[in-house]
């Protein structure tokens, strides 16, 4: 499948409908069954895929609507991690989880999600997973001598899962590591475990690093300067960074460090309900192109659209696609 120049995609999550939130919470309150919830998830994911197609995205995701949040979906699948299932009242809360022994190698079970996505779209498909650095920050470590050691074992297990995903047809994989921004002092070992995670995975791999989007607000502030030069050692194809909300100052880092990666540039502010016009999006893309050539650019929102109302999320995607088309036209593509 050939992508156009300036391909458009989501970071991962799509708008979480209020009705789905309530049903998920009903499930935790044992008011609906797992079977019913699975069916509900299937319907919601199909709808999210359809919205992305209608908005005109070149690469689609499953909208991550099966996930309660970016952590729990993975920790409850990772073997060897103990979860206190009574620890959450609202579906979006985090479980209390802890690791008491060495994490064994076992399947995580993401392949089914990806197959469902492939079966429901003819567009290029991307699967997104939370990276080991971010996961280890939410798991109480009662076994490993260090966070790095825990993250390394998580990376090994997830590496096997990524290879299974590739076998199932995954060509675009995104690793989410927002906690890098919260713990910049970890960046050297964070990149090391990232490389263990992607070792031998034959797909186009992006790493998404933002400043957090929990409850639709940033968790940290600062500059991407902390990433450099450590991130240059990452064995990934592209970086996905947020620029719409924060402005494009950090784009200078790409020139300063001669960054070899492609860039997934955030051009949609996901923490603001006002919808950007295509012209604003186009201007943001042009600004990015001063630091990174169009051939190495992907066009994305700053982060997941999880917290935005569906109509706004959809309108933002439409504006993003239109903005990309404006610039493609200017480029004669």
């Amino acid at each position: 499948m050939t992508l156009p120049i300036l391909p458009t995609t989501m970071v991962g999550s799509y708008s979480m409908p209020g009705w789905l939130e309530r049903l998920k919470t009903d499930y935790f309150a044992r008011r609906i069954s797992r079977h019913d919830l699975d069916e509900i998830h299937d319907a919601a994911v199909r709808s999210a895929i359809k919205d992305q197609e209608m908005a005109g995205l070149d690469i689609v995701t499953d909208g991550e609507l099966r996930r309660d949040n970016m952590i729990d979906y993975f920790v409850e699948r990772l073997p060897g991690i103990q979860i206190d299932r009574s620890s959450k009242k609202f579906y979006y809360d985090f479980y209390d989880s802890e690791v008491l022994g060495k994490i064994p190698m076992a399947a995580v079970g993401l392949v089914e999600d990806f197959r469902f996505l492939l079966a429901n779209t003819e567009r290029a498909a991307k699967i997104c997973i939370t990276g080991p650095h971010s996961l280890c920050k939410r798991v109480r470590n009662k076994h490993y001598p260090s966070e790095e050691a825990l993250a390394t074992d998580i990376a090994r297990v997830m590496n096997m899962e990524l290879k299974e995903l590739v076998k199932a047809g995954a060509k675009y994989i995104q690793i989410d590591e927002p906690y890098y921004s919260g713990f910049p002092e970890d960046i050297n070992w964070g990149v090391k475990v990232l490389n263990i995670l992607v070792e031998g995975v034959q797909a186009k791999i992006a790493v998404h690093i933002c400043y957090g989007n929990r409850y639709g607000k940033p968790s940290w502030e600062g500059s991407y300067r902390y990433l450099f030069p450590a991130i240059l050692d990452a064995k990934v194809n592209s970086l996905s960074l947020e620029f719409a909300r924060r402005g494009g100052e950090d784009l200078d880092l790409f020139r300063e460090f001669k960054v070899p990666f492609e860039l997934g540039a955030g051009v949609i502010d996901v923490k603001d309900n006002s919808v950007e016009t295509p012209d604003i999006v186009a201007e943001r893309i042009r600004k990015t192109m001063k630091a990174v050539p169009a051939e190495k650019l992907y066009v994305l929102p700053d982060c997941g659209l999880f917290h935005l109302p569906r109509d706004i999320a959809f309108a933002k995607l439409r504006a993003m696609v239109e903005g990309a088309r404006i610039v493609r036209k200017e480029l004669g593509k």
Partner: protein, 494 residues
């Protein structure tokens, strides 16, 4: 307090619920109320079906000055018999003259027919309390505070229960400044201290809190040699330009750091959108309790909206007419003018002032309950969906009347986006921190001088906060003995 007993009629279980009694509440003591109600039942002036679902709230009014008659009766909905909503009788014993309770109860139980002339001067039709004219009077008070203070001879702070605002309590301010310094120190240690440190105060009063806080922070910063003070950007926000002007002298030593910004307390982000996620501390004192409010009743798994209409009792209307040389029939028109131009509504400004005070002091509200199913367009405040409310009420006590606090919720929701990831909101106000609090007594609205005083539903704020990514905490205001104020503060929810 609850009383129950079997009545003679077969199958009729009578429940009489009295609450919030006050030991000094003569003459309407509990026993007198019970005896009076039983005698009305025996005399056939109250139907057994009414009695079977009767609720009496004795001494339910907390505020000496309020919007109620001595005895009011409210019946929810039109249904009769088993499905009938309980009749509520509310008695403010402070207003009940000795020996008058029976007559007052009889009167209240037989309200005038819709077309019957009661002599009351109505200012509006039944509506949500949040859109009532009483809030226009509240606005008038704050916009023309000087006129009121001149007429009463005391400042609005002197009218407060403690004689001054809790927001200006020196030790409380000092500790708040020290807490903020600690946050800045922590951010600095992580190399995350912003170049400009924004602080926002909403509802600035006379500026005393801002002045005290800045004095204290400056001293602390100099004493510890941290040099944070010059980085402060202290924003004083208020909807009244006159108030912003008045508060300047209180911060005269810090004018270089201060900005005076006219903003709507219910929508700070609209004015300050350029500071989204940048403000490290937002403070307000006694502001939420003065934002428009309305109430709902949760009863038998149904939600009722409380609708009200403001009026002047006939005796008060006649008295005001005489005192101010205006015809009774002209009072509503003059009230409109008063709300527009202040005391210049009358040619003689002194009489205009008397008119304002007298109308305000005499103003009452009638109430009725409307089943939510009959008001499909009525909506809960932003941040609270019907489904969300159902979740909240699932575990709430039955027969609960509580504030929705839409003004406070709106302000809260529209302030949170300003907060820096490490920022926090601190609000000193009177909060019902649990829905159960509403079973324990009345929480407003009342009148405090020329303004409205009303408790804020902290329990609903907590729910909205959780969904917005914050945990809310309430701590008693410990710096003034007997204070009913609590301090709300936010912490980030992980």
């Amino acid at each position: 307090m609850g009383l129950s007993g079997d009545q003679d009629s077969p199958g009729s279980k009578l429940n009489l619920h009295l609450n919030h009694t006050h030991k000094d509440s003569a003459p309407a003591t509990t026993s007198e109320v019970v005896a009076t109600v039983l005698s009305l039942l025996e005399d056939g002036q109250m139907k057994p079906a009414q009695f079977a679902r009767l609720q009496i709230h004795l001494d339910w009014l907390q505020y000496k000055h309020n919007f109620r008659e001595a005895v009011t009766v409210m019946q929810g909905g039109e249904e009769q018999g088993e499905g009938a909503a309980p009749m509520e009788i509310r008695i403010d014993s402070r207003q009940v003259a000795p020996g008058s309770l029976r007559a007052l109860l009889q009167n209240a139980m037989h309200p005038a027919k819709p077309d019957e002339d009661t002599g009351r001067i109505y200012f509006e039709g039944f509506r949500s309390f949040r859109t009532s004219i009483v809030w226009e009077f509240n606005r008038l008070y704050w916009q023309r505070l000087k006129d009121w203070e001149k007429a009463t001879g005391k400042s609005y702070e002197q009218a407060l229960p403690g004689g001054k605002s809790d927001g200006n309590q020196a030790q409380g301010v000092a500790e708040a400044a020290a807490d903020f310094w600690t946050l800045l120190k922590d951010l600095e240690s992580q190399n995350r201290l912003p170049q400009e440190v924004f602080i926002l105060e909403i509802g600035v009063g006379l500026g005393k809190h801002a002045g005290l806080w800045l004095d204290r922070f400056c001293a602390l910063d100099q004493g510890r040699g941290t040099n944070f003070y010059p980085r402060l950007r202290y924003l004083l926000g208020d909807y009244s330009l006159a108030t912003l002007e008045h508060c300047r002298p209180a911060v005269k030593n810090h004018l270089d750091l201060c900005s005076f910004i006219a903003l709507d307390a219910m929508d700070p982000i609209k004015t300050l959108s350029f500071l989204r996620h940048k403000v490290l501390h937002v403070h307000s004192t006694n502001m939420y309790d003065n934002l428009p409010d309305e109430e709902v009743v949760w009863r038998d798994s149904r939600i009722f909206w409380v609708q009200s209409r403001a009026y002047l009792p006939p005796g008060d209307a006649a008295r005001i007419s005489k005192a101010c040389d205006v015809a009774v029939a002209d009072i509503p028109t003059i009230v409109d003018r008063l709300l527009d131009v202040g005391i210049a509504a009358l040619p003689d400004r002194a009489k205009g002032m008397i008119f304002w005070m007298e109308v305000w002091n005499a103003m009452r509200t009638e109430e009725k309950l409307v089943d939510a199913v009959d008001m499909p367009d009525a909506s809960f405040p932003a941040g609270l969906s019907s489904a969300h409310m159902e979740d909240i009420l699932r575990t709430a006590p039955n027969d609960l009347r509580f504030h929705l606090s839409p003004g406070a919720l709106e302000s809260f929701r529209n302030t949170l986006p300003l907060l820096h990831p490490r920022g926090y909101l601190q609000v000193q106000d009177i909060f019902a921190t649990d829905l159960q609090d509403y079973s324990m007594g009345f929480h407003g609205p009342g009148k405090l001088d020329g303004s409205i005083v009303n408790w804020v539903n902290g329990a609903l704020l907590r729910e909205v906060a959780e969904r917005a990514g914050y945990d809310l905490h309430f701590a008693p205001f410990k710096y003034r003995p007997g204070s009913k104020t609590s301090v709300l503060y936010t912490t980030r929810r992980e």
